[in-house]
Symmetry: C2
Subunit: 210 residues, 2 copies
C-alpha cells in the first residue's frame, strides 16, 4: 500500500487542506488573531468538524493570560484523564508547567462520597486547595465548571469545553458570563480531545515564537 508515513508531513498537509476548505467554503471568514486561528484549526484537525469555526468563544484577554501563565510555569488541572493524555506534556514541561487530573485520587473519591457530589466537583475542590498559579481545562464535566464558578475561584484562565446534553451548554454560558479569562465552546459540542487540542495549539505557537 502507498500512503504518507511522515507524521510532520501528514500534519502539515492536513492543515493546508483545512485552510483550503475554509477558503473555499467560507471565503468571508476571518480569524481574530493568529493564536485563535491556530487553536480553531487544531480543533478542526482533531474533530474534522468545521462547525468549530463558529462555536469557539474567546474572552478578550484569554490568549494573553494563558500565554503569560504558561510562561510563569502554571499548573493545568484537567477534568478527565483523556484530556491529560492528549496534552503534550513534554512540551508543557519545557515551559516549566505541569498537568494534573485528580478524578481518581483517593482523597477525591472519599470527599465526593462524603459530600454527595460528583468526583469532578471534588477534584476541583482539591485543586483549589493547592498553592500556585492554576489553569483549569474541562472537556467533559459540566459539574466541574459549575463548581469552579460557584466557589468564585479566580484561576488565571479556564478552558471550558464540556460536551453534552445535560448542563454542558448552561455551564459554558455561565463561564462566558463569569468575566474570567476563558475559552468556551458555545452549544453542546466539546470534548476532552478538543480541550487538549486547544492547549497543544498554544504550546506549539509558543515553541515557534521561541
Amino acid at each position: 500500500m502507498n500512503y504518507l508515513q511522515q507524521p510532520q508531513l501528514i500534519e502539515q498537509h492536513s492543515f493546508e487542506i483545512i485552510s483550503e476548505i475554509i477558503a473555499a467554503e467560507r471565503p468571508d471568514y476571518r480569524f481574530n488573531d493568529a493564536t485563535q486561528e491556530a487553536m480553531i484549526k487544531r480543533v478542526i484537525h482533531t474533530t474534522a468538524d468545521f462547525e468549530w469555526l463558529d462555536i469557539l468563544w474567546f474572552s478578550p484577554d484569554v490568549i494573553e493570560q494563558l500565554t503569560a501563565s504558561l510562561q510563569r510555569g502554571c499548573t493545568l488541572y484537567t477534568d478527565t484523564t483523556m484530556a491529560l493524555s492528549g496534552i503534550n506534556k513534554t512540551l508543557l514541561a519545557e515551559f516549566g508547567c505541569s498537568c494534573r487530573c485528580y478524578i481518581s485520587d483517593p482523597r477525591v473519591v472519599a470527599h465526593a462520597k462524603e459530600q454527595g457530589i460528583t468526583r469532578s466537583m471534588a477534584a476541583v475542590d482539591l485543586a483549589l486547595q493547592e498553592e500556585g498559579e492554576k489553569v483549569f481545562v474541562f472537556g467533559n464535566a459540566p459539574t466541574a465548571l459549575f463548581r469552579l464558578l460557584e466557589k468564585e475561584a479566580k484561576p488565571s484562565a479556564v478552558i471550558g469545553v464540556p460536551v453534552g446534553f445535560v448542563g454542558a451548554e448552561e455551564s459554558k454560558e455561565a463561564l462566558v458570563e463569569s468575566g474570567l479569562p476563558a475559552i468556551a465552546a458555545r452549544g453542546r459540542k466539546g470534548g476532552s480531545n478538543v480541550a487538549a487540542a486547544i492547549v497543544n495549539a498554544l504550546l506549539y505557537r509558543m515553541r515557534e515564537a521561541g
Copy 2:
C-alpha cells in the same frame, strides 16, 4: 447554582434527550440492532454530533465477533493513550480482558527509527508479535490501520475510526473492503474519544446482559 449532580441521572437523561432528538429530527431513522444503537448513541453522547447516525459502518459479523472476543478475554490494542484512557478498564478487567497502547514503548520508538516508519506502525508490528486474541482500536492513526491491512493480519475485529484529512478516509475505506470484522467511520470524522465510546457501549451492553 442549581445543576444536576448525579452522574448516572445525567447520563440517563442525556440518552433520553438524544433519543428524543433523533425521533424528532429523523423520524424514519432505524437502527439495525440494539447494540449498534447503543454504540451510535454513545458516540453522539461523546461528540454531540448527530452526523454519527449516518457514518458509522458495521460489517455484518462484527458485533458477534467483538462480543465473543471480549467474552474470551481478548487484548485490545489502541493507537493512542487517549483511547486507552477513555476505555473503561475496570469493566474490561471484569471480562478478563486488557488494553494496551505501545506508542511510547521503547521498542516501538527504536523500531520506528530503524525502519523509518511511524511509531503507530511500529506499535502494530509489536502487537502482532504477541500471543493471544487481538482486537485493534484505532481512533487517530491512518498509518496504524494501513499497516495492519498490509501485514494481512487476522485480528478478531478492528474498530477503525481514525480522524483526519490525510489518509484517514482512505484507510477506513480499505478496512471496509478488507473483509475483516470491523466498525469504521466513513469520511473524515472519528477520534480517540469515538473509539473509546464504541468499546464502552459494548462493555455496558454486555454488563447489562449479565
